[in-house]
């Protein structure tokens, strides 16, 4: 992706909502009449998923606060010697540092809009217990074999891909391609293309669990509504204590604000993980394409290096 974009200043999402209503007649449309969502986007943001506790129920920062947050986010901090971050490759060597990429500016204090405190609902006792089991297993066996490593390190799936699709540390590019009966949402990392059928009613086919669930979409006016269930039961979503349940439900709503921006809203409902459903939204902003191929598995040096390092530690009588 083009690494030289500075962030662009956008109005607040509250203002954008009124723009949406005003510009409805001027939205770019497909040859079959629906708003065109197609293009290359970034969802890189400086807005945290969860609101800092001290902000309470305050949804928006002041201009001064937002600018200060932006400055902090764009400041490159020195890594501490002896930490994992310190021996990691330099993100700015590869155009991956936040300050090198187009980042959507916002006054929002959190991506989460519901519950009102902008924070994830409390985890269920069941999820906490499951999470504890997983951590205990990993502490003992986490380096035994490739299968004990995380799904992202194994290049199988990255949690931010969702649904819900959430911003992550880098490579936040998304490509949307649409035909009359399908829409594809392709995350740069790790080249996962969700092909979503557009239908009048929910599909009836009995499908096996899928890594990103099975989705279907429908148009409600100019908003594309996507419903997803049938997850793998193996992916722990961002901020969750344990993997999302197979029959969890996610609803996404995508609408075009103007030629440059899409609004992405979502609601997650997994009663095994959280005491209540939670919702959020953010803005995706157009970027210059293309999105390059993220060949995670083909170039996976980290996984074998971690395992061989673990074996070397064990050969010296240590525990990785």
């Amino acid at each position: 992706m083009n690494a030289s974009f500075p962030y662009r200043t956008l109005s607040t999402i509250a203002l954008l909502s009124s723009a949406l209503a005003a510009a409805a007649d001027e939205l770019p449309r497909t040859s079959w009449g629906t708003p065109s969502l197609q293009g290359y986007y970034t969802n890189a943001t400086i807005v945290p998923l969860e609101r800092p506790v001290d902000l309470g129920e305050r949804e928006f920062l002041t201009e001064e606060e937002a600018q200060a947050r932006l400055e902090r986010a764009m400041t490159v901090t020195e890594t501490q010697p002896g930490t994992e971050a310190d021996v990691h490759y330099q993100f700015d060597d590869y155009g991956m540092a936040r300050a090198q990429n187009q980042t959507v500016f916002s006054h929002r204090s959190s991506i989460i809009t519901s519950p009102k405190n902008g924070r994830l609902p409390p985890a269920t006792p069941e999820a906490l217990a499951r999470g504890q089991e997983i951590r205990a297993w990993r502490a003992e066996h986490g380096f035994d074999s490739a299968k004990e490593r995380s799904l992202s390190e194994r290049c199988i799936i990255w949690a931010h891909e969702g649904p819900p699709l959430l911003p992550t540390g880098y490579n936040n590019h998304v490509q949307i391609m649409e035909s009359k009966n399908h829409i594809v949402i392709m995350s740069e990392m790790i080249h996962d293309a969700r092909v979503i059928p557009i239908r009048d009613s929910a599909p009836t086919a009995v499908l096996p669990p899928q890594w990103q669930g099975s989705s279907w979409g429908r148009w409600e006016g100019d908003t594309l509504v996507i419903e997803t269930t049938g997850f793998s039961g193996r992916v722990t979503p961002t901020g969750a204590a344990a993997p999302m349940a197979v029959d969890a439900k996610v609803v996404e709503r995508i609408s075009r604000i103007d030629a440059e921006t899409l609004k992405y809203e979502f609601t997650v409902n997994d009663p095994t993980l959280w005491e209540a459903p939670w919702s959020g939204d953010y803005v995706m902003q157009a970027v210059e394409g293309p999105v390059f191929e993220y060949a995670c598995h083909e170039g996976n040096y980290g996984l074998p290096n971690n395992l061989s390092g673990a074996r070397a530690i064990e050969a010296k009588g240590g525990k990785p």
Binding site: S36, R154, Q175, M186, A205, Q210, F292, E314
Partner: protein
Amino acid sequence: MLQRSSAHPTPGLLRPLGVALLLVSANVAAQELPRTADGKPDLNGIWQVMNTANWNLEAHSATQGATEILGAIGAVPPGPSVVKGGHIPYLPEAKAQKEQNFQNRRTEDPEAKCYMPGLPRATYMPYPFQIVQSDGDLMMVYQFAGAVRTINMSNHQPAPVDSWMGWSNGHWEGDTLVIEVTGLNANWLDRSGNFASEQRRVIERYTMLNPYVISYEATIEDPTVFSEPWTLSMPLYKHVEEEARLLDFKCAEFAEELLYGHLSKDAAARSNAAGEQP
């Protein structure tokens, strides 16, 4: 056919009529192709080959597979050559490399490693792929390894970087979608070790014959491996099941024992038991 014709000759007066009927039906078929708003053939759908090209592009008898322990499940099904002229025109050194690949196919075939297959192999693997045809570009999403590529219909440019699925510039020649693919990593073309280098240029041609069949051709130019360009061809069939959709085949985890098994704790313990260094 010749024998049957001579035993039952077609009456001369009817022959021209038969030809005319064929032409009419071909014309009707062309008109009945599903088309997009801009009049191009509508290639949207899930497509898959019904052949054994992924086992071997050239003619091959049924044989024992690379992993005997799988019994008949791992056997190679027979198939005719899909290469025009029958054989791939390797340069001598490349032919030797192909033979070596064959010997090492159980562990060295990029398919076994779950690497993205590149072109043209992605098209004829025994897994479906979906064409999503927009008002402009197209996207091809492959079940195997979740490979995906964009067909750039207007942003034509040289491949900006090398990649597994390459850079695709597409255009229409009449009703045929022609795609030039460059910037591909070196890759195998089938399970028998046929291969091409990162120098290759692949010209694909997708011609819809009727709503359910696409004629697929790919011409491969690679002067470092082949003495001349060569072409493979085969039909692609549309999945017509109601609610047909691509399902996950994220095979990275199925390749972990092959790729990383020697680095596991168990493998180290086995090595120690055998008196070897891990």
